[in-house]
């Protein structure tokens, strides 16, 4: 073998050995793929309120779009909450793939009006999403919520497994739970729009229960401690403001409804930054009182809001 041939052979072997060893060293001790990310906290989305600014608005009327606009005006205008360039996450209830008249999901006219208002305020992106019980594609289509979002200039996000991660929420039942984090970490403003629904276990499905749609993992286990879970949802999401969509009220057979006889026209919309207060008001729409709802009492005890909605001096308007 010539000198050159020898050098070449040595070089080949050397390179191969170096390559294999290098790869082994690099892989040694790495975290295996698929290891869950460390729990991430969700920041508060509240904005500061000027002294004397309205804290709650109750608007009554039969046309949802103008009702939302009037309520927002009375609250101080959408510009009080949304600034130019914001990334806004609007979270309606899209849990079921049923037509809107069944009253089990947010009214698409209400969603459209909120999304349009955010766009008028100059938001860069208005994202609309939910993690439904039924298949997400059908939910956003059959409820009309997908169309309403797009017509108003927003964007629908459908949940994917990679969007979920554990949340850091110490002292609550949700600490470490798999949450639909991606949109929450992406947005800097969050608005919830919850319909008013009867519910057998929780007794009412209102503003706080609406955030359940951001939970992932085996969330059907949380029913074992439902009241605590809903109260802790108020800690998980501290939204910019919330809308209680009472245009249709699902009075019985909630939360899935199914018959037009279960739904009545409520013709009311309420805005508030305090979800507990909104729920206390919402209870009255279901012919209940705030005292009937154990989760609400728990939420107030944990300091997440006040049940005495009247103390917030709500402005009542009528169209």
């Amino acid at each position: 073998m010539s000198r050159r041939g020898l050098l070449r052979r040595l070089a080949e072997t050397g390179l191969a050995a170096a390559g294999v060893s290098g790869a082994a060293i690099w892989l040694h001790g790495r975290q295996p793929r698929g290891t869950a990310a460390p729990p991430a906290p969700v920041s508060s989305f509240r904005v500061d309120a000027a002294a004397g600014a309205p804290r709650m608005v109750i608007a009554r009327g039969t046309r949802p779009g103008p009702l939302v606009d009037a309520a927002l005006e009375e609250m101080g205008g959408i510009e009080r909450f949304i600034a130019k360039g914001d990334t806004v996450l609007v979270k309606p209830n899209a849990a079921f793939d049923r037509p809107a008249w069944q009253g089990t999901t947010t009214n698409p006219d209400v969603l459209g009006a909120v999304v349009a208002a955010c766009r008028r305020a100059g938001a860069a992106e208005v994202l609309v999403t939910d993690n439904p019980i039924h298949a997400p594609e059908g939910c956003f289509r059959k409820t009309g919520l997908g169309r309403a979002t797009e017509d108003a200039g927003g964007k629908v996000l459908l949940p994917r497994p990679s969007d979920f991660g554990p949340v850091a929420l110490p002292g609550t039942i949700l600490d470490g739970w798999s949450v639909y984090l991606e949109p929450l970490l992406r947005a800097n403003k969050v608005i919830g729009i919850a319909p008013v629904k009867d519910h057998n276990l929780a007794l009412a499905s209102l503003t706080l229960k609406n955030w359940y749609g951001l939970l992932g993992g085996p969330r059907n286990r949380l029913h074992q401690r439902m009241d605590e879970t809903i109260a802790d949802l108020a800690a998980l999401v501290r939204p910019t403001f919330s809308v209680l969509d009472g245009t249709r009220i699902l009075l019985r057979n909630g939360p899935t409804g199914g018959s037009p006889d279960d739904v009545v026209a409520g013709d009311v919309i309420a805005l508030c930054t305090d979800g507990v207060a909104l729920d206390a008001f919402g209870a009255t729409l279901l012919s209940r009182t705030a005292d009937d709802l154990d989760y609400l009492r728990l939420a107030e005890e944990k300091g997440r809001g006040t049940r005495d909605w009247r103390s917030l001096d709500p402005r009542e308007i009528s169209l």
Partner: protein
């Protein structure tokens, strides 16, 4: 444009169309597309179901009537479907072309006609004999349902998962569908494709009962391949590309010729052409099935089929069978006389609750659709499975007919009920474990709910009184949709399970 190239374009078009039909067969995309057109236009499906039910199913884009048109065309043109249309045939053609050596001698040997190619006629006869006894097993080997099933259960989910891994979205609108037992279907599919490396178009030549049916009717063909003896140089090159192994260099076997036109292309003397009524001495019109072979096939088929039927009946009587069939399905016996196991319903199902059955309903029911509520649930307003069923095993209903708002053709009223749920109280949290839950009640979609709760006071193990909401089923209201079983937090067998319908009066 050379005719063989036109054929290639035709094959590509129909294969693409077939795959597009499968792709479009999903809730948001389906619109008015006739996604089951290939299945409806399959003459063997039409013939077998006509024998097993006494009727040509007439619902759908064309109904099964169109298959007869194809049969008539075959009687005029020969076995053109195999060479120009069949998507499974095209796949075999592609694999054979990719994998087979180019050397002429090897190819001539591969395209030699083999006597045991008669087996496909035996399979056809056996299947038809079975159909006469209402045992419809044609879907196991008819290429269109076979391809539809293989793509739906095995290939598309694999491709979908692969696309999602690399972040390219997917095929299915929601998550990747999962089908239990898909491994076997995929394995058989791959095996059939790989056999092309031994003999090109092995399936088409030796197994395909649809090809056999076309072959039988090819004897009437008015146009056929003709070899002009005066110009033929005897080089045998015509066999080099022959798809059907039909011996164009000798007397062309009409039953095997797939009208691929390769021989016309390859002949250096230009002796081969596709002629109108050439002299009959140049062709063999019949099939090489002797009387003995026919009897063997017929009796074998009869024996096998009745054996299969026994396994199904045994299961039915032993009470083991609690198959939940798709909404709109006919009663089990009538269902099995129509289901061709194409799995088109599995493909369109938005929640993947429809799964291919294993042997739990007898061998007869292999790969027919059953509901598995742990995999998904049946949306009570959805009627897509019936919309795509080509043979009427699942009737076409509108959502209003399914929920009972509108009358159904069979006159039954109320919502369609596919099963009834019941509680396993030992596994249920509020019943057996003093723990609140009732997710089942929450998700029950009918109004009024089929699951209701009673508040019951119990003393827990620490002596404290605890009030629990305990769930009960109202059998008059439960439609068997299975969302309760699907959402139940108990892993493994759920605490509430849907079984056969409890027939209340």
């Amino acid at each position: 444009m050379r005719i063989a190239n036109v054929r290639i374009i035709s094959q590509a078009t129909f294969l693409t169309l077939f795959l597009v039909c499968l792709y479009l067969s999903a809730a948001p995309r389906i619109d008015g597309y006739p996604v089951s057109i290939f299945l409806e236009a399959d003459p063997l499906v039409a013939l077998s179901t006509a024998i097993s039910t006494g009727q040509l199913y007439h619902v759908g884009a064309t109904g099964l009537f169109f298959g007869i048109g194809l049969l008539v065309a075959t009687m005029v043109l020969g076995r053109f479907y195999c060479g120009w249309v069949c998507p499974f045939g095209t796949l075999h053609h592609i694999v054979a072309w990719l994998g087979f050596p180019r050397a002429t001698k090897a190819r001539l040997e591969a395209n030699r006609f083999r006597r045991w190619y008669w087996i496909k006629y035996g399979i056809l006869l056996a299947m038809l004999v079975g159909a006469a006894f209402e045992i419809l097993q044609i879907g196991l080997l008819d290429p269109i349902p076979l391809l539809s099933r293989s793509m739906t259960d095995a290939v598309f989910p694999a491709v979908d998962a692969g696309l999602r891994v690399v972040g390219l979205g997917g095929i299915h609108p929601s998550a990747t569908p999962e089908f239990s037992g898909a491994w076997l279907i995929g394995l058989l599919f791959l095996t059939f494709l790989l056999l092309n490396l031994w003999v090109p178009r092995f399936f088409c030549r030796a197994i395909c009962p649809l090809g056999a049916l076309f072959g039988v009717f090819s004897r009437f063909a008015l146009w056929r391949i003709h070899r002009d003896l005066s110009t033929c140089g005897g080089c045998n090159l015509c066999s080099k590309g022959c798809e059907g192994a039909c011996e164009p260099e000798a007397k062309v076997r009409l039953a095997e010729c797939m009208v691929c036109m390769n021989c016309v292309e390859d002949c250096p003397d230009g002796s081969l052409s596709y002629e109108f009524l050439p002299p009959p001495e140049g062709a063999i019109a019949g099939v090489n099935v002797t009387g003995r072979r026919a009897v063997l096939a017929g009796v074998g088929g009869l024996f096998l089929m009745t054996l299969l039927r026994r396994s199904g009946s045994a299961v039915l009587q032993s009470g083991q069978r609690h198959l939940i069939r798709p909404p709109g399905s006919l009663a089990e016996e009538a269902f099995l006389a129509r289901c061709i196991k194409c799995d088109a319903c599995l493909n369109v199902c938005p929640t993947s609750v429809l799964q291919p059955a294993g042997l739990e309903g007898g061998f007869e029911g292999l790969w027919t659709p059953v509901l598995d509520m742990r995999m998904g649930y049946c949306d009570i307003t959805c009627t897509l499975c019936g919309h795509v069923c080509p043979t009427g095993a699942i009737e076409r209903l509108t959502p209003a007919q399914r929920t009972g708002t509108e009358e159904r053709p069979d006159g039954s009223d109320g919502p369609v009920m596919i099963g009834t749920a019941s509680y396993d109280r030992g596994r249920c949290l509020p019943w057996g474990m003093d723990t609140p839950c009732v997710v089942c009640e929450e998700v029950c979609p009918v109004s009024p709910k089929a699951i209701f709760t009673r508040e019951e006071r119990v003393i827990d193990r620490d002596g404290k009184p605890v009030v629990l909401k305990r769930p009960y089923i109202d059998p008059q209201k439960c439609v068997g949709c299975g969302i309760c079983e699907h959402e139940c937090p108990i892993r493994g067998p759920a605490a509430v399970r849907v079984g056969s319908r409890i027939g209340t009066i």
